[in-house]
Symmetry: C2
Subunit: 138 residues, 2 copies
Amino acid sequence: MGKKLYNISVEATLEVIGGKWKCVILCHLTHGKKRTSDLKRLMPRITQKMLTQQLRELEDDGIVKRIVYNQVPPKVEYELSDYGSSLTPILDSLCMWGETHIIKEYGDKFAVLEENVLNRRDDEVLVDELMEKEVEMT
Amino acid sequence: MGKKLYNISVEATLEVIGGKWKCVILCHLTHGKKRTSDLKRLMPRITQKMLTQQLRELEDDGIVKRIVYNQVPPKVEYELSDYGSSLTPILDSLCMWGETHIIKEYGDKFAVLEENVLNRRDDEVLVDELMEKEVEMT
DNA sequence: CAGCATCCGGAAGGATACTG
DNA sequence: CAGTATCCTTCCGGATGCTG
């Protein structure tokens, strides 16, 4: 393997999760196993190509597990590996900081969440989190 | 301001610290105020153009403060703003995960640290951290 | 449904020279 | 020393069509 040289250890982290969509994908996976079609719906702007590419890289780095069901039509699921789960606290922190930042910038965080996010069925954790915060603020 | 739409809150975080060099710069700044020339030395691979660009964006987002001394030759320092300091726990976690990852991948973490990192004078915190871990492992 | 191959435009980022 | 401006190359990533 070609050893890479780093000037600071965070560069090693960025090499793994620094891809354009990787943190977003991983954040969704912290909420549980997801099918390819689930991920597509959760990330309407990602292209098929990028989704597969980023998932492959995460798989190669041992961050996510790819579960293939041998059936027709095909079914593939992705979930955090044990090693990938060590990123969960970081991913949660990144999400929480984002929520705070959105509030700081826009006041009402719902103003910047797309409808598909609020209407989705299988990943209501975020919405629940936001609802809780909303209650705290009243 | 043009409101951006997000599908998950981490996207807001990435818009602020997702730039190619931003996390690296911020990690260095968690160790204290730095002159432009310091940052250049700490990041030998970054170009002048990118350094300035990333710093400007971080400044615009209220993450870093730019301190200009009116003197000749010019002297400029950068440091985390109060708001930027709210990222410190995340940045520390990212660094720590990177160290663990380096150990997992290469065994000896010193094998992948460039010499300029080990020889530098003003940012020995990382080295100290590594030394401590080394001791723990023996 | 999940994924691959191909083409292609545009943004990202490097190199260089110049300014105060 | 710190920063700007310009040019130029690279390659990321989108769009499309096809396969099992």
